[in-house]
């Protein structure tokens, strides 16, 4: 009986495709982020507000993942930018191959931003690199402020936490300071933005954050 060292990442195959995508994004100057949250936190609402604020000549595209229906793609395509729905047919996360496949019909040289809206789920998307520059996690004030502690992995791996629905703070027993403290316990120094997609509070800061990150990725 002997022990053979393997020393491989379990998700090695996904990683290989993700690195290929990352290189493609780099070559084409595409800034890509991967938006992750529970179902119903407001990912699609944030993207609606984001797309409507972008100039019409922006070279942005959106891939949106769901188990079923094209509802999100329909919502997001109203803004005139290319949008594609990835229907996973039950899979609880997007993987790099799905992204690769759905990008195939787009000319990457026509894009400079790719937004990936992951399947609503705080657990499974965490381990799957999609070639993005950053993961962004969204939490809404109608959830529990202990979510960063319950699902530490995604808060640990995300560059930014967006706290959404802050217009509802007066009506729900959500302790925003505690939520932020919890996020920073898991991810020391984590950047956090508070927004409301209904009152549009905080959205200017969000758009500025995106622009700054794009500049930091491409050094301009």
């Amino acid at each position: 009986m002997s022990q053979i060292a393997v020393e491989k990442k379990v998700l090695n195959e996904n990683q290989i495709v993700a690195e290929k995508l990352r290189e493609l994004f780099r070559q084409n100057g595409i800034f890509c982020f991967n938006l992750i949250s529970s179902p119903g936190s407001g990912k699609t609402a944030l993207l609606e507000r984001t797309l409507e604020r972008l100039p019409q000549d922006s070279r942005v595209a959106v891939l949106t993942g769901d188990l079923q229906t094209e509802n999100d793609a329909i919502r997001l395509s109203r803004f005139g930018f290319p949008v594609k729905q990835i229907i996973t047919g039950g899979t609880c996360h997007l993987d790099a191959r799905m992204v690769e496949k759905h990008l195939a019909q787009w000319k990457l040289e026509d894009l400079n931003t790719l937004i990936i809206e992951n399947v609503g789920n705080l657990v499974c998307p965490t381990g799957y690199d999609l070639g993005e520059a950053f993961k962004i996690v969204m939490l809404s004030v109608t959830e529990g402020e202990d979510k960063p502690l319950k699902y530490p992995s995604i808060f640990f791996k995300s560059e930014l936490m967006i706290l959404n629905k802050i217009d509802l703070l007066p009506y729900v027993p959500f302790d925003a300071a505690k939520a932020k403290e919890n996020a920073r316990k898991v991810h020391p120094g984590m950047e956090i933005l508070e927004v409301s997609c209904t009152t549009e509070q905080g959205l200017d800061e969000w758009m500025r954050w995106l622009e700054q990150k794009r500049s930091s990725v491409f050094g301009r």
Binding site: Q3, I4, K8, L11, G90, F156
Partner: protein
């Protein structure tokens, strides 16, 4: 081989199992590849290293593994999971420390901005085999 099982009404539990099931499937891919390079060898055990920040539930993974290997040539192949606790390094004084319960503040100099140096692993470390 990529297997995804996706039916059920208990959404949250199904989600969880599906995720670990696809991880189990990735592990099996690696095992099958290794087995091909060692014809005749009998694989007894797969050694995994899973960090507490990897977002992988051990029980769900073992369940997924059982489902996946049942009545196949891999039936009975054991997973041995080494849990890797979180460790941090202080950004100011470089002190390295264990960080149970998200205690990421440096115990030496109290700086809150430490970086994680262990605890997000999801690795296949080794295979235990019986060579012919």
């Amino acid at each position: 081989m990529t297997i995804t099982i996706c039916h059920g009404t208990d959404f949250y539990n199904e989600f969880k199992y599906m995720h670990e099931l696809s991880i189990a499937s990735s592990i099996l891919d690696v095992v099958a590849k290794e087995a091909k390079t060692r014809p005749g060898a009998h694989i007894l055990k797969v050694g995994l290293r899973i960090g507490e920040l990897a977002g992988v539930d051990r029980d769900a993974l073992s369940f997924g593994w059982e489902v996946l290997t049942k009545d196949t040539e891999w039936d009975g192949l054991r997973l041995e999971i080494e849990d890797v606790p979180r460790r941090q390094r202080c950004s100011v004084c470089a002190h390295e420390f264990a960080a149970p319960d998200f205690m990421t503040q440096c115990p030496k100099c109290s700086d809150p901005l430490s970086v994680t140096i262990a605890g997000d692993e999801l690795d296949i470390a080794y295979l235990e085999v019986e060579e012919p």
